[in-house]
Amino acid sequence: MIRKIRSQQLGRELFADGLVGLVLDFVQETWKGIQLPHGIRLEKRITLLFMKELNRCCHEDTAYDWAFFPEVPDCNAEGKEVSRIDIGVSAPGRRQPEYCFVFEGKRLNISRGGRTISNAAEYVGPAGMMCFVTGKYSSGQSEGGMLGYVMDGELNPARSAIVDRINLKRTELRLAPGTAYSPSKQMPKAPFNGETKHSLEKARKFTIFHLLLPIQRN
């Protein structure tokens, strides 16, 4: 079928928040149903289990048609693999490698030697938020997501730790002037979640959505 768009109004009214809102909703809803086994502590294993659950829920719910892919290779302009994105999301009816959104996952509030470490530095650092900032991930996109697995389930301190760290590293993170970690209208029902806006190279604007996901054990 050949298609022609005369007006974008209908699209704006039906999908005011774009695809991102739908994905974020789905990810948050799915996380609520996850109970990790006690032995699962590694970030990679949490991500894989979560992704599996995301795909299972997509499969069962006719309203969702996303497909979630693990360890998506990301390449530079020369086509060389520079890193691996934790989770890539394909829109309905699309398959690899057409990702419409990507997520990077990091653990927060890790218990180590009887102490709780915020791990915010890792979350914000080169293997976390900075991946989006340096353009390592999906240079063609304008939005990405950070999944913060809050290991002890304490969202408030986790949020505070990453907010502090973001403020500390705002220059490196190229935070847009006058902005900070703030509530996201895409996730109005999740007060701890938020978004940061970044001004990247070549005046490219980029938004990172932060989803703090409390670990629940079975």
């Binding site: 050949i2 809102g21 009816g93």
Partner: protein
């Protein structure tokens, strides 16, 4: 004139008053032209629609069932019908409504060909004592056709007829009827000699005197009947004085195509067994690999090859297997047309010299068959003469003679050993694989239809010699690469897998193209869709940059009525692919009922796909390159997603396979389950007979016994007896041991056997240990399920393309995870046990009472329905995946590769009914509204049906609460929207094409206009359309 898909389709003529005689004469001319399908004559009060496919006749139209007149409409009473007429033509709905008036077998090409063959057979009839040999008959008829063409186009006329002492005549029929048989023989041969002298010495060969000796009065009578238009097959003479044929209107490419098909058709068997004759014809053509290219297909290949070229002039073209020269003729016609447009004021002489130069210097054809070369020259001469007005040709003759430029028609054919300079000849009678240096790297385009010779057919020695010698530069490249990787390449698998001669052409042809040249070949689809071409595909697609692949499998029976193997067109450049991320455009048109002659191959947007080169390389490494071409053939984006999921599951091959033994018979490898083919009975070529080792009372299942379904009963078998005392091949005993699943050769029947049974090699089995009985019962359920049918449809090389068959190796690729390999083994085991119990129940229900009863079928059908649910459950098939499976199995699979006669009945092209459109609308509505759940708005569907036009307009309107689909008849509102759609479409693509469907997204609604064919209204079409619309609504179509 109305063109559909760029082809002239309907001629319109406005007249002041009705003139039946004149209108029927126009109908006769259109029939002869063989291009348009209809003539519409409008005299302001009435519109008469004539069929250009109905055979002309001399009388006026009196009977209402006269095929020539399709219908008469009046402006006053049929305004709506007239309004929808053009739309109905463009969607094919008009032809469907008036199908009896548009029978392709009544068209000029079929009629002419049938009668030409019949005339030839009568000329060769030895029972009459004066039968001509076939070559003489072919040459004689060929000369007569050419002379008839010259006479009717007035290239020759009374002056030439006078010269040979014949009376004036407008055509060959008049000439033959004006004299006695013996006079006609003398006149014809005098005329042939004159033409030979006037035009070209090689056109008529040098056999004229010898040939004339064999021509008798009876032959002239046959000729008269042929030119009069007699129906030889029906034994029906044409009416006296009526000229059925008009050679001034029959297109020259049609004459040459008909002539070449006629040469390819053999004489009938002495017993006149039509079927045997047809088989013989197919067999002869198969041996030679020569399936002649229908003109419309040659046009398509030339279109593909030269797409986006600003000019065809000043370029050189090579057809490496030119046959009748159809590609060269099409190219010449286009070049001549372009030259004339660019040089509209050029003199006759200038034009002649330029066009002759194009003929001899721009075009080059090679064929090892001298007769094919003769036809190619004949066709090119006709094409050349067609560029001049008849009076100009005589003036030209004089001018050329005065300028010392020779005769009107230049010599074209160079036969091996001729002394003439090759550069001056377009047609070379030689083997394309013969050593060559002069022509390498000289052509802008290498185009053609190489012979499709395969296994069990005599190969081309020259091709094999070149392929595996140092003269083949690609062989050296492959060897060097392999050496680097320290591997030993299988050169046969790379360069000539399965003896496919076309693959040899694919390697050789690029050598003749310039650095920026193009190669575009029409090839058997087996080069891609075979489980034996993986090494070739891996090497060839890594070596050449492929621009596009056209998969014409669905048109197999329409394009080549006798060919078993479908065609693909591959267009490539000679350099390497830019990078592994490159995409290949893959065009997969499906049969449409757009035009009763099937003259066009429309491509719907959903049939344009992009195949990632790296996916192909990956699958080739797994020895399954064909899966890529197959998945993308009928599969949509959603299908590929589902198939990806299935292909990631452990396949049956993980647990089932042949027992591997060493030479001493010791088992080297044995999987959990054993697979194998039944025993082979004794044969003449048997070297060492094998002892069967069975008891006469052991059970035997005859493969021809179609009664067993799902589960085998002992009563379905019989004792094997003593009839077969020894075997040619004796398989492992393990394959006859229970429990086992039996599979027939066509892979249509899968039956579980709880007891040991012997069977012949047309059956195969998968057998396992007794403790796996439940699993093997479950395997039976899976193999019988629509899921398996869906999987094989999209992943097996042949199914839906060539033969309705799945190779056993492909069968073993069926996803079959064992319960312990699933996420929830307990749940999976429970399903397996339920399926096993249900199958045991089937056995109990049938019992001895219903073993031979029709009720057995019903018991099995009910069980299959229950088992399907269990299979879906085991594989966690989602609701959306079920839609894909059901549409594939119930609609698409039943619509594949239709013959022209079956086109009216295939599910994809039957007109959708309101409930089907409703279902489509609800799936589309629900998908979009599901994604819009964060919004307060929804969309609600409404349909407007324009039945006469064969269209339905679906409008999705923005609302706060979605309603169910309602449909009403198209009225004024429909026309208003149609105007908006036409305007929008004109901006997009220059005009609306009803066949392809069109969607317009406006402020408050989405309009979707589609033809009524079911293909557009399936549930899977709704899901795929929803995906596309989502992309448009979210990103304005920019990000997708």
């Amino acid at each position: 004139m109305l063109c559909v898909e760029g082809r002239p389709t309907v001629y319109f003529k406005r007249v002041k008053a009705k003139d039946s005689k004149c209108e029927l004469n126009w109908q006769r001319k259109l029939w002869n032209q063989g291009a348009a399908t209809m003539l519409v004559v409008d005299d302001a009060s009435e519109v008469r629609i004539y069929s250009a496919l109905a055979k002309p006749a001399s009388g006026s139209i009196t009977a209402p069932d006269d095929e020539r007149l399709v219908t008469t409409l009046t402006w006053a009473a049929d305004a709506l019908e007239l309004q929808q007429f053009i739309r109905g033509v463009e969607t094919g709905a008009f032809y469907r409504r008036h199908a009896p008036r548009f029978q392709p077998e009544r068209s000029v090409d079929r009629y002419l060909l049938d009668n030409l063959c019949a005339a030839r057979d009568e000329l060769c009839d030895y029972s009459k004592g004066d039968g001509l040999d076939r070559d003489t008959a072919h040459h004689f008829l060929g000369r007569c056709l050419f002379t008839g063409y010259l006479l009717e186009r007035e290239v020759i006329g009374s002056r030439q007829l006078r010269k040979v002492g014949a009376p004036a005549a407008r055509n060959l029929r008049e000439l033959l009827e004006s004299m006695t048989g013996s006079q006609a023989i003398d006149t014809l041969y005098a005329l042939f000699r004159l033409l030979q002298d006037d035009f070209n010495g090689s056109l008529f060969g040098n056999q004229l005197p010898g040939e004339q000796k064999h021509i008798r009065v009876r032959h002239i009578e046959v000729l008269k009947r042929f030119f009069r238009g007699d129906d030889f097959k029906a034994g029906q003479p044409a009416l006296t004085g009526f000229d059925l044929y008009d050679f001034s209107f029959i297109p020259i490419e049609l004459i040459s195509a008909i002539y070449e098909q006629f040469l390819a058709a053999p004489a009938p068997e002495a017993d006149d067994d039509e079927e045997a004759s047809d088989e013989q014809s197919k067999s002869q053509r198969r041996k030679a690999g020569a399936y002649y290219t229908p003109p419309r297909l040659a046009e398509l290949v030339v279109d593909i090859a030269t797409e986006k070229w600003p000019t065809l002039l000043k370029k050189r073209y090579l057809d490496p297997a030119c046959g009748s020269g159809i590609f060269l003729v099409v190219l010449f016609q286009r070049m001549a047309g372009e030259w004339r447009r660019r040089n509209s004021t050029a003199t006759n002489l200038k034009r002649a010299c330029e066009l002759r130069r194009i003929l001899t210097e721009s075009l080059c054809g090679v064929d090892r068959d001298p007769t094919a070369c003769m036809i190619a020259s004949f066709s090119l001469y006709l094409a050349f003469l067609d560029q001049f007005d008849p009076p100009d040709i005589w003036a030209l003759k004089k001018e050329l003679e005065a300028a010392g430029e020779g005769k009107v028609l230049p010599p074209l054919t160079l036969v091996a050993g001729d002394a003439a300079k090759p550069a001056k000849h377009a047609i070379h009678a030689k083997n394309f694989f013969a050593p060559e240096t002069d022509a390498l790297g000289k052509f802008d385009l290498v185009i053609g239809n190489p012979p499709w010779i395969g296994r069990n057919q005599p190969g081309d020695e020259a091709a094999e010699k070149w392929l595996f010698s140092e003269a083949n530069p690609f062989l050296i490249e492959i060897k060097a690469q392999a050496q680097k990787q320290k591997k030993k390449p299988d050169l046969k698998a790379v360069f000539l897998p399965a003896q496919q001669s076309a693959i040899a052409f694919m390697w050789r042809a690029p050598l003749f193209a310039k650095a920026d040249g193009i190669v575009c070949l029409l090839l058997p689809s087996r080069v891609l869709l075979s489980n034996q071409t993986d090494a070739f595909q891996a090497a060839w697609f890594a070596r050449f940059q492929v621009e596009c692949v056209w998969q014409l499998a669905d048109y197999r029976r329409i394009l080549f009525s006798g060919a078993k193997c479908p065609a693909v067109v591959i267009k490539n450049r000679i350099d390497r692919p830019a990078d592994e991320g490159q995409m290949i455009e893959y065009i997969t048109p499906k049969a449409e009922r757009l035009d009763p002659r099937q003259a066009v191959i429309p491509v719907l947007p959903e049939d344009r796909k992009m195949v990632p080169l790296d996916s192909l390389a990956l699958r080739a490494k797994e020895d399954r390159a064909f899966i890529v071409w197959k998945e993308f053939f009928w599969g949509t984006g959603r299908d590929r997603g589902f198939l990806d999921r299935l292909l990631k599951l452990p396949p049956l091959s993980k647990i089932a396979g042949k027992i591997k033994r060493d030479k001493a018979g010791q088992v080297l490898e044995r999987k959990r389950w054993v697979k194998g083919q039944g025993f082979q009975p004794p044969s003449k070529s048997m070297e060492i007979p094998k002892d069967p080792g069975w008891k006469p009372s052991d059970l035997f299942l005859d493969a021809g016994n179609k009664r067993p379904q799902l589960i085998l009963l002992e009563s379905d078998c019989k004792p094997i007896g003593r009839e077969i005392g020894e075997l040619r091949r004796k398989p492992d005993d393990a394959i006859f041991a229970a429990p086992m699943v039996l599979v027939n050769q066509g892979f249509t029947r899968f039956v579980f056997s709880p007891f040991p049974v012997y069977f012949q090699d047309s059956l195969q089995s998968i057998a396992g240990p007794p403790e796996d009985e439940n699993l093997l019962l479950f395997l039976t359920a899976v193999l019988n399920s629509p899921l398996a049918s869906y999987f094989f449809f999209h992943t097996s090389a042949n199914l839906g393309v060539e033969r309705d068959k799945v190779h056993f190796e492909e069968l073993l690729q069926l996803p079959f995870p064992l319960p312990e390999e699933t996420d929830d083994p307990d749940r999976s085991w429970a399903i397996v046990r339920k399926a096993a119990a249900r199958l045991h129940q089937v056995k109990a229900d049938i019992g001895p009472a219903f073993a031979l009863d029709p009720k057995r079928e019903q018991i099995c059908a009910d069980a299959k329905a229950d088992l399907n649910e269990l299979v879906y459950d085991y594989f966690e098939v989602s609701a959306r995946e079920r839609v894909l499976i059901e549409d594939t199995v119930e609609i698409y699979r039943k619509s594949i590769t239709p013959s022209p006669a079956r086109l009216n009945r295939i599910p994809t092209l039957t007109e959708s009914k309101e409930p089907q459109r409703q279902e489509y609308a609800h799936y589309l509505r629900d998908a979009l509204n599901g994604w819009a759940k964060r919004s307060a708005w929804r969309v609600s569907p409404k349909g407007q049906l324009a039945e006469r036009a064969g269209l339905c307009l679906l409008t999705l309107t923005k609302v706060q609460r979605a309603e169910d689909y309602v449909e009403e008849k198209a009225a004024q509102e429909f026309e208003k929207v149609m105007k908006r759609l036409s305007r929008a479409s004109a901006e997009q693509q220059g005009g609306i094409t009803y066949l392809r469907g069109f969607a317009l997204i406006e402020k408050e609604c989405i309009h979707i206009l589609k033809p009524l064919a079911l293909r557009h209204w399936t549930k899977s079409a709704a899901l795929n359309d929803a995906d596309d619309l989502l992309g448009d609504l979210l990103f304005g179509g920019e990000n997708r």
